[in-house]
């Protein structure tokens, strides 16, 4: 099979999985088996693309023109492949986790859930493979829409309100800022293709370039830069597997991935005249402010959501420094944060399923009842903070290196301070779970269902594995800045 065929096949497999999930409504085991099979096929597709892409090939597919001169087009480059690999690899354990969670909590509409989930992954792969801004925009909006039923899954008033915030902010930013930015790019540059070195150079004045940069950065609301971050905590009304895969991996990573992609392939690493200082400032502010909010949040999922906002800001900050090292760091951090944060959410969902607890203050001593879950939580926390032996240390290393390279002391200080704050909001949870005595009374419980525990231990193990064998992500991240 040629690389081009695989490129088309990868998202289609997930669409087929969605159709199958809907058709196999009556046979839940068969339905989940189909999802697992599709996930494995998707991973196989992406792995098959690795050797040619690492060797410098850019498998590309163009569909018939949608607008004059503008076609839907796929082109696989290192960063996109990295993002797609992360989403697909974490999708597999998520299926096992989800089926344990949905069945243990007796959730309704399970077929709709799996169908929308598969479509989200298809959209994420579409974003990852997008060969131009139009294609990126198409799948970006699709991702918002197919995840809405997942966010409002419970269908109650709270879910409805969360869903409204989710749609309003994501569609609002993309329509108000991203679409005009894309059309303006089209008017100025005459092309929307992602080209190494950028397409805006010498086409726009510095002022316009800076304006466009800000439109892109805020328009990609999925990157959750303040003040357009509120959709992410609002999305926490969703069942936890959704928060785990979508709001720690697929959706938010699609956001920062798009920001990185726009900076690298639209502006180029020589910035096309744009002033990146405002973006650095906004990212730095978001990083610190969200950490402070996380520090004070008692609801576990809310704390994790604000932690995500803060960690996403690392990626934006890193790429906004536009030093080669920091861009590599940004790409690596997309992977590192995904693996760590999904583990944390998996653990939060396991706690909810086994003990029906949602607050940090209720977690005293729970680590002795759920040792696997909280061991995994601890490992993932280390990665989140950026301590060895986890993959978080690797990406932090590059980001710090990039800040030196860019000679930006402010960014350096923010990264260090952010690290301390993240230790401040994560380690107390581990401390409570293992070292504080459990409150008297309360129902006896053990670990969550086995499929959930296996999934979260697997992703925790991945945070360590990735630092021992960092070749693939590192090679892909380096491919991004190689000329």
């Amino acid at each position: 099979m040629s690389a081009e065929t695989i490129v088309v096949l990868a998202p289609l497999v997930q669409v087929a999985a969605a159709v199958l999930a809907a058709l196999l409504h009556r046979w839940p085991n068969l339905r989940e088996a189909a999802s697992v099979a599709a996930a494995i096929v998707l991973i196989a597709c992406l792995v098959a693309l690795l050797p040619p892409v690492l060797a410098g090939a850019r498998p590309a597919v163009r569909f018939p023109e949608m607008l004059p001169g503008l076609a839907i087009a796929f082109e696989v480059e290192p960063l996109g492949l990295l993002f797609a690999l992360i989403a697909a690899t974490l999708w597999l354990p998520s299926i096992f986790y989800s089926l344990g969670y949905l069945r243990a909590n007796g959730e309704a509409h399970q077929s709709r859930f799996f169908a929308c989930f598969a479509l989200s992954i298809a959209s994420a792969v579409g974003i990852a493979f997008a060969g131009n801004l139009l294609t990126l925009f198409l799948f970006y909006e699709a991702l918002t829409l197919v995840t809405w039923p997942l966010v409002t899954h419970h269908g109650d008033e709270e879910a409805r309100r969360g869903g409204r915030t989710y749609l309003a902010l994501l569609l609002g930013t993309s329509t108000l800022f991203l679409l005009p930015a894309i059309v303006a790019t089209w008017v100025y540059a005459g092309t929307l293709d992602f080209v190494p070195g950028g397409i805006l150079r010498d086409r726009v004045s510095p002022g316009v370039a800076t304006l466009l940069l800000l439109l892109y950065a805020f328009g990609i609301g999925k990157a959750a830069l303040m003040p357009f971050h509120r959709w992410l905590p609002a999305a926490m009304v969703a069942p936890t597997p959704v928060s785990a895969l979508l709001h720690a991996v697929a959706v938010v990573k699609a956001g920062v991935f798009s920001v990185v992609k726009v900076v690298v392939y639209v502006f180029g690493l020589d910035a096309a005249g744009a002033d990146f200082t405002p973006l650095v400032t906004v990212a730095a502010f978001t990083l610190l402010a969200a950490s402070v909010v996380a520090l004070r949040a008692d609801n576990l999922k809310r704390r994790l959501a604000y932690s995500t906002v803060s960690q996403l800001a690392y990626v934006v900050l890193a790429v906004a420094l536009i030093a080669p090292l920091s861009v590599v760091g940004a790409a690596l951090h997309i992977a590192a944060h995904a693996v760590g944060k999904i583990t944390l959410f998996f653990a939060a969902g396991a706690v909810y399923t086994a003990a029906h607890k949602t607050r940090v203050s209720e977690l005293n001593g729970i680590g002795r009842r759920m040792p696997w879950t909280f061991a995994a939580f601890g490992v993932a926390s280390l990665s989140m903070i950026g301590l060895p032996p986890t993959v978080g240390a690797l990406s932090k290393w590059f980001i710090v290196g990039g800040a030196w390279q860019a000679d930006n002391v402010l960014a350096l200080a923010v990264v260090v301070l952010g690290t301390l704050l993240s230790a401040g909001y994560l380690l107390p949870i581990v401390h409570r779970a293992f070292l504080r005595p459990a409150a008297a009374g309360g129902a006896a419980h053990g670990e969550a269902p086995a499929t959930m525990v296996v999934a979260l231990v697997a992703t925790a193990a991945l945070t360590v594995t990735l630092v021992v064998f960092p070749d693939v992500p590192l090679a892909l991240a380096r491919g991004l800045v190689a000329r």
Binding site: L67, P68, P180
Partner: protein, 495 residues
């Protein structure tokens, strides 16, 4: 032999069918005739469009009286495009009409509906195809008079009031139009569009021309529901039978826009009408208010059909906005939106008709929990709603893209802001319905009689129209492609 008379057949066929239906009286026979005529008209329109694309504009001298003395039927890139839209809508809604009209119109009036529909179709096609200014007026009256009857056929008595309101406004509009062309005739001594345009080049006395332009703009503005001349539209759309609403929403206002475009670009010339006068700012300003204010009004409508009607006024604003931008991208957006909005709003009104058919109400409060009772309808509403919003991958996106591009090329970023703000309002009013359908539970279990299943034909028509909203988002040769050809014709114009 027949091929060369296609332009005449295009209009004559439905025109002759109308009086034939009346003596038939039988509902089924009337429906059959109307459907066959609609399909045939669509076939003719497609054949003409292909012929024009291959060999350029067709000029047909009615009764072999050569223009400018006789009436000329003229099929060019622009009118072929509109013929396909109008006839296509007719062919699409007729299969749907069978069951829907039987449910929504009193039994003894059903055959009259089909007769009036054929007249209306003939009138609209005539307006599009004719190359004669007075002939436009004649066909405009044919379509308007039949439209008044069609609206009045609605079961509720308020339909009568709505029809009467439209009758008053429509008559004023037609009168203004005829005053306008009277002035043009005074100045040029001709009624043939090409001939008038040629003679106008030598006219130095602009005062009567200005008066003509003003009368025609206001007259057609009433007909096409240009804000703030839109007062008749929400009532008419809300109280007319669903099929009528669908057909009118997709064609009647669009045809008036088409006439306005012809006047601006092919009669007066945009150098005179748009560049030399403040008309452009006026159009842009009114459209800008329309797309924002009317979307806001739509947001607060308690009834689905009324909401869609106000949304139509806003969407017409998009079309006139592109006209006011008057550059290639803006006009392409404008013309493409004629089709895109026609298809999208047509699909939505068909769905609303299906809901009325099955549940007996289109009040948004009664839509709660609809996703359980009518899962396909609810899903289709989401799809067509996305096109109304203009999400990429739907028809609505393509026209929005060109409008934004046109505004940027004109250096008017504030218009871009208004366009996107209006899209967000569209998200709000569409999602209000989606939430009701998917997330809210009905207050009481649905009444037993409310489970009339829609007929297969209704479902088929609706499915085709909803599918079109997506297909036209990806395959843009038929909306954007033809729009670009028509724009080339307009801008070359008479310059």
């Amino acid at each position: 032999m027949i091929a060369e008379h296609l332009p005449a057949l295009q209009v004559v066929l439905p025109l002759v069918a109308a009086p034939l239906i009346v003596p038939l009286r039988r509902d089924t026979a009337a429906w059959l005739v109307a459907t066959l005529v609609s399909v045939a008209a669509f076939g003719i329109a497609v054949a003409l469009a292909i012929a024009v694309a291959d060999a350029g504009a067709i000029s047909y001298a009615l009764g072999s009286w050569p223009p400018p003395w006789g009436i000329e039927y003229r099929v060019d890139a622009l009118s072929a495009f509109m013929l396909v839209l109008v006839a296509g809508t007719g062919a699409l809604v007729m299969p749907y009409a069978r069951a829907s009209i039987a449910a929504e119109v009193s039994g003894h009036q059903v055959y009259l509906f089909y007769a009036m529909y054929c007249l209306c179709l003939a009138g609209l096609l005539g307006i599009v195809i004719t190359g004669d200014l007075f002939n436009i007026f004649v066909f405009m009256e044919i379509s308007s008079l039949s439209t008044y009857v069609l609206i009045a056929l609605g079961r509720q008595r308020r339909a009568l009031l709505a029809a009467f309101q439209y009758l008053i406004v429509g008559t004023i509009g037609a009168t203004f139009y005829v005053i306008g062309i009277g002035l043009l005739y005074l100045v040029t001594g001709s009624l043939n569009i090409v001939d008038v345009a040629t003679r106008l080049q030598d006219v130095t006395e602009v005062r009567p021309l200005l008066a003509a332009l003003a009368f025609i703009t206001v007259g057609l503005g009433l007909k096409l529901a240009l804000f703030p001349l839109h007062q008749w539209l929400p009532n008419a759309y809300a109280h007319a039978p669903s099929v009528v609403t669908t057909f009118l929403a997709a064609t009647a206002t669009k045809v008036s826009v088409y006439v306005l475009i012809r006047f601006y670009f092919l009669v007066f010339g945009h150098a005179f009408a748009l560049d030399g006068l403040p008309l452009r700012s006026l159009l842009v300003g009114l459209s800008a208010v329309a797309i924002v204010a009317m979307s806001l009004v739509a947001l607060f409508q308690p009834d689905l059909k009324r909401m869609l009607a106000y949304s139509s006024v806003a969407q017409i604003g998009y079309i006139t906005l592109g006209l006011g931008l008057a550059n290639a991208a803006g006009l392409t957006g404008s013309l493409a939106h004629l089709v895109n909005h026609g298809v999208t709003k047509g699909a939505l009104f068909l769905l609303a008709g299906g809901i009325a058919f099955c549940c007996g109400s289109t009040s948004i409060a009664d839509l709660r929990g609809l996703s359980r009772r009518m899962p396909w309808t609810a899903f289709a509403f989401v799809v067509a709603g996305l096109s109304l919003i203009g999400v990429p991958g739907t028809a609505g996106f393509t026209s929005k893209w060109f409008l934004v591009e046109g505004a940027l090329e004109n250096g008017q970023p504030w218009i871009v802001a208004l366009i996107v703000a209006s899209s967000l309002l569209a998200v709000a009013y569409v999602w209000r319905v989606v939430e009701a359908m998917y997330l809210a539970l009905p207050d009481a279990p649905a009444p037993a009689q409310a489970s009339t299943a829609a007929s297969m034909l209704m479902r088929a028509s609706t499915a085709v129209s909803v599918a079109l909203t997506v297909v036209l988002g990806f395959v843009t040769a038929y909306n954007v492609g033809y729009a670009r050809r028509a724009v080339a014709l307009l801008l070359e114009g008479i310059s």
